[in-house]
Subunit: 227 residues, 6 copies
Amino acid sequence: MIITLKISGKFFDEENSANLEIIKKSVLSLLKNEHRVAIVTGGGGTARKYINIGRRAGIREAHLDLLGIWASRLNAYLVAFYLGELAYSKVPESLEEFIEKWGTGRVIVTGGFQPGQSTATVASLVSEAINSDLLVLATNVDGVYDKDPRKFNGAKLLPKLNTEELKRILEFSQSVNAGTYELLDPLAIKIIERSKLKVLVVNFKNLDKLLDIISGNINTGSLILPV
Amino acid sequence: MIITLKISGKFFDEENSANLEIIKKSVLSLLKNEHRVAIVTGGGGTARKYINIGRRAGIREAHLDLLGIWASRLNAYLVAFYLGELAYSKVPESLEEFIEKWGTGRVIVTGGFQPGQSTATVASLVSEAINSDLLVLATNVDGVYDKDPRKFNGAKLLPKLNTEELKRILEFSQSVNAGTYELLDPLAIKIIERSKLKVLVVNFKNLDKLLDIISGNINTGSLILPV
Amino acid sequence: MIITLKISGKFFDEENSANLEIIKKSVLSLLKNEHRVAIVTGGGGTARKYINIGRRAGIREAHLDLLGIWASRLNAYLVAFYLGELAYSKVPESLEEFIEKWGTGRVIVTGGFQPGQSTATVASLVSEAINSDLLVLATNVDGVYDKDPRKFNGAKLLPKLNTEELKRILEFSQSVNAGTYELLDPLAIKIIERSKLKVLVVNFKNLDKLLDIISGNINTGSLILPV
Amino acid sequence: MIITLKISGKFFDEENSANLEIIKKSVLSLLKNEHRVAIVTGGGGTARKYINIGRRAGIREAHLDLLGIWASRLNAYLVAFYLGELAYSKVPESLEEFIEKWGTGRVIVTGGFQPGQSTATVASLVSEAINSDLLVLATNVDGVYDKDPRKFNGAKLLPKLNTEELKRILEFSQSVNAGTYELLDPLAIKIIERSKLKVLVVNFKNLDKLLDIISGNINTGSLILPV
Amino acid sequence: MIITLKISGKFFDEENSANLEIIKKSVLSLLKNEHRVAIVTGGGGTARKYINIGRRAGIREAHLDLLGIWASRLNAYLVAFYLGELAYSKVPESLEEFIEKWGTGRVIVTGGFQPGQSTATVASLVSEAINSDLLVLATNVDGVYDKDPRKFNGAKLLPKLNTEELKRILEFSQSVNAGTYELLDPLAIKIIERSKLKVLVVNFKNLDKLLDIISGNINTGSLILPV
Amino acid sequence: MIITLKISGKFFDEENSANLEIIKKSVLSLLKNEHRVAIVTGGGGTARKYINIGRRAGIREAHLDLLGIWASRLNAYLVAFYLGELAYSKVPESLEEFIEKWGTGRVIVTGGFQPGQSTATVASLVSEAINSDLLVLATNVDGVYDKDPRKFNGAKLLPKLNTEELKRILEFSQSVNAGTYELLDPLAIKIIERSKLKVLVVNFKNLDKLLDIISGNINTGSLILPV
C-alpha cells in the first residue's frame, strides 16, 4: 500500500523529540510491512510566528504564505534528517520535484509547495500523484465529529463518512489568509473527490499504531470514503 | 500602475501571429505610459490535446495537470520570445521564481505553476504578490453577464459588479478535472477577495485598446471590485 | 544490451493513445529481457505549429529551435508519465542531466537539448554517453532505401549498409532551419562514426516487435554498421 | 561605499516588527546616500529551537548545522520581504549565488551557506567577495571590551583596535558545535585578515544611526582595523 | 552594435595576466562606445590536458567533451572575474541560460554548452540568439588565407570573403573527436549561414584595437560575409 | 564501513592515467567488501595555475577560491567519469547536494564547496554528514611525523596519535590565502574533533592496498584518533 501521512505543524511546536519518535515508529512499522510512505508536514508555531511578525509589518499575503511554506519545510527537514537513511534528505519544493524524488524508493518528506495552497492540499495532490491508497491526517482530535466537539457536548465521532457528508459538516471558512487554513479546505476536498482518495483522520498520538488501525485491530479515527 | 494580463489559452490555437501582435501592442502602450506588466498565459488547444491523449491512456489527474502546465509554458515562451527585449526570456515555474524575475523590471510571462491551480489562480497569486492595481482577464466574451449569454437571450452585460455578485452569478463547477477550469475558479476568487484585487474582464480583441478602456475613454468589459 | 529508441515526433500528432501503447509494449518486452532503454522523442506537429507561428512573427532561429525543443519535451513528458514507474518522471534538459538521471536505473525519456541540434543528434549523443549497443530510429518508412522511394518506383530497401554508404545515399540538406532536420543530419552521423554506433532504422508500427527484429526472428528495417 | 550588515539572529526572536523597522531605516538612509548594502542574518531562537530538538533526537552535527542554516534563511526572507522592492526577493544559498545576485544592484539578504561556517564567516566572505568597505556587526552589546563586561566590573569599551588585539581579547571557543558560534570565530577572523576588512561592532539599537556613526557624528561602537 | 567575441582557449595557456588585460581593454573600449559584448572562451591547454588523460584512460567521447566544456568554463570564469562589475559573474551552461543572463545588460562570458558542439558553434548560436551584428574570432593567425600558410609560401590573406568561398578553402576535418574541432566546424558555418551572420577573423594580439578595425581605421583580419 | 577518501590535487597533475587506476582499484576492493566510499579531490596544479594568473591580475581572494574550487571539480569529474557506473556522474556543489546524492548508493565524488573552506574541511564535513567510519587522507608522504621530515633528519613517523598531539605537531599556517591550505587546517580539525572522526594518513601510492592497511595486514600510514 502507498500511504501519505499529513502531520499537523503543531506537533513540532514542543521542543522535545518524542513526537519525532512517534513519526519514526509509524514509518518503520509501515516500511517493514512493505508499504511506501510519503510525509507532508504543516508549518505550526514557527509558521505562525513568522506570519504574525510579517503581517504586523505589512508584508503581503502571498509573501506571508511563502514564510509559512519555508517554516513547513524546516519541519520537513527535521523529520527527514531524523529518519536518516529511510528518507530522502532533500525536501521537494514543488509537486514535480516530489514526483521525481518519489522515484528513488525512499520516504519523501515535504512541506508546502505554493502560496494559496494549504499543506492539506499539498497532501491531496501528493496522494493523487503517487496513487496513494490512503491519506492519513494526523491531528489533535480523535476524528471527524457530527458537530464541533469544542462547542457541543453531545458531539459524536463518525467512524465512517463520505465526502458529501464531510462537506456538510465542515463549515468551510471562506478566508484563505495565510496560516488559517482548516484541516481540509475546499481545494483539498476537490482533489480528494476528483481522484476518489480514501482519507483517514486520526489522533497524532495514535500514529504509531497506524498498522493496527488500518487492519481494523484498533478502532479509532474517522474514515472518509469517496461517494 | 502594475497590471497583470491573463490571456486565455485559446488565443494561441490559431496558427497565425495576429494575436501575438495584439498582445505586443497592448504591452507596448502600457510600458510607454510607465505601467509595469505581468502576463499569464493559459494552455489552450495544446493543453487540451495532451490532456486528452493522456486521459484516454489512463494517466493520473495530477500528471494531466502537469501536461497542461507545460503546454501553457509553451504559450508563455512564444509570447516572451515575441516580446524580445521587453520581456524576460525565461518562463518562471513557481510563484517564488516569478517574484524573483519580477525584480528585473521586465515584463514577466508565465504559464501555470502547480497541479490543482488554474492559470486564473496563478494570475491572482501573481497579482497579489506584485501588488497589481488591476488584473485583466482577456477572454472571448465581452465581459460578465447577469446570466449565461449562450443560453439566455436577454442576458445583460454588467459594466460593474462586486465579488459577492460575481459569486452568485457564476455557478461554480465543482469539478477540477485537468483542463476544465472556469474563467475564475473558487480559489482564484478567494485570492482576489483576501487581497481586494480589482479585476477587469475584456474581450481579447479589445486588448490593444486597454489604455483607453482603463482611462474610461472606451466603455467595454466588466469591472469587478472588492466588496 | 543498452538500447536507445528515437521516436519521431509525428507519432504524437494523432490524438489517440495507441502509439503510446506501442512504445510501452516495446519498452516492457525489452526490460523483461534485462535490456536497458533510453528514449528520445521528436517535436512533431506541436513543434511545427509553434515554429510556424513564431517564424511568421519574425522570431529568431535560435528561439524557434527552443520552441521546438520545449514541444519535444512535452512529448517526452507524455511518454514518461504513461510509462509510470518504469520511467524517470523528469525530462532531462541537457546531456549532463541525462547522464545523471541514467544512473537511477530507470528508463529515461528526453526531448531536445540545445538549439542547433536535431533530436537525432541528441539520440546519438545519448547513445554515445550511455554506451548504447543499438540506436533504434523508429520512423514512418520501412528502412533505408537505395533511392528516395517517394520519387523512384524501383527503390530497394537495404537490409544492411555502412555509414559511408548511408552518406552517399542521403543528400544532406544544407539547411538547418528549425524544424526541418532530416532523419540523420551530418552532426548525428559524425557522432555515430566517432563512437562506432550501430543504428537500426525501423517502421514505428513494428516497434513492439523489436525483440524479434533484434534477434533476427523477424526481417525488417535497415541496420547501419560502422565502417 | 559598500557595506555589509551582519544582524544577529536574536533580533528576530521577539514577535514584533520594530526590529524590522530599525533594519529598514538603516538600509534606506544608506541607499539614499548612494551606498550599497548586503545583509547577513543569523538564525537566532528559531535555529536554536530546531538544533535543540535535533540534538536531543541524535541528529548529526552537519545536519544540525543545516537546520540552523535554514532557520537563518527564514530570517533572511523576512527581511527581504519587508524591504520589498529595495531587496532581491530570493535568499542566496551559496557565495556563488550571492555574488551572482549582487550584480542586480539590489540589497541582497542572505542567511547561512554551508555547515561548519558561522554566519559571521558568511558575512566575512560576502564582504570579501563584494569588496565591502565596512563590515558592520549589529549585536546586543555596545562594542568590544578589553575584558568580558558580563564578568568584570571595570571592563572598558575599546573604540578602536586591530585584529591582533581582538584575537588576544577573544578567548576563542574551540567548540564548533552547531549554534554555539561566537561573534567572530577564527575562520571569520582569518578572512578578515587576508582581505584586510574593516569591521564595526555596534549595538543593534543604534543601527538606524549608522550613517552618523560612520561619519563620526556619533561616537559609539568599536572599529576593528587590519594590522 | 552587438558583438560576440570568441576567444581561442590557447590564450589562457600562458600563466600570465597580459592576455586578460587585452580582453579587458577590448571590452572596455567597446562598452564605452555603447556596444554590447558577449564572450565565448575555448578550453585550450586545460581542456587538452583533461581530455588526454581521459582518453588514455578509456573514458567515452561524450564524457571527454564534458571535461573540455568544464575546462572552457574555467577560462570563462577567469575572464568574468577579471572583468568584475562589467560582467555577469555566473558562466551560463546552456543557450537558454545565456539568453536569460543576457537580459541583465552585462557582458556575459560563457564556455561550452553541450557535447558534440565546438565553442565556435556555441559562439554562432549565441550570435544568432542575441542578434549579434558581428562575430569576432580572435585566433593566432592574421585571418583567413587562400591556402594553409603553414604549408604554402605564397598563401595570401583574404581581407573579405563569403561563406561559400570559406567552405571551399577549409578542408573540413570529418573527425569530431573531443578537442580537435577546427576554427569553424560545419555546424558553426551552417548556423552562420542560416542567420546570415557577419564574421571577423582577427589576430588575438590585435583584439584591443577592435574598434579601429571595425571602423576601418586599421586594416587587418578577414571579414566573412553571408552570400 | 563508510570510508571517505580525500585525494590530494597533486595526483592529477601528471598527464597519465596510472593514478586514476590506483583510485579505481582502491574503490573496487572497498566496494567488493561491502564498504561505501565517498571521494573528495583537491585542485592541484590546475587550481594553482588559475589562482596564480588570477592573483597576478588582481582578482579578489574569494573569487580565487572559486577558481580553485572549479579546478577541484574538474578533477572530481575526471574521477567520476573514470569510475563509470560505480560513481554518480554529477559532482555536488554543496554539502546539501552531497548528502542528497549519497542517498543513491553510488560512490559520490566531489571537489570543493565554498570559498574559505579547504578540500580537507570538505572531506571532514562529508565524513561527518555521512557518518564515515574512517577519513583517509591520501597524500605524498607516508604519514604524520613528529617533526617536519623535509627539515629534520631524525623525524619519526607516528603510527598512531590523537588530535591533541596532531595540533601540537602542526604549526598551523595562519594564512588562508586561496591555494595554500595545509593537509589539515584548523577548521577541518575542529570538525574532526566535534564529531570524533577517525583519520588515516597514507601515501597515495599505497591507496590500492587500503583494505590490507585497514585490517592491519600492512603497517603503514598514521592513524589519528579522537581524544
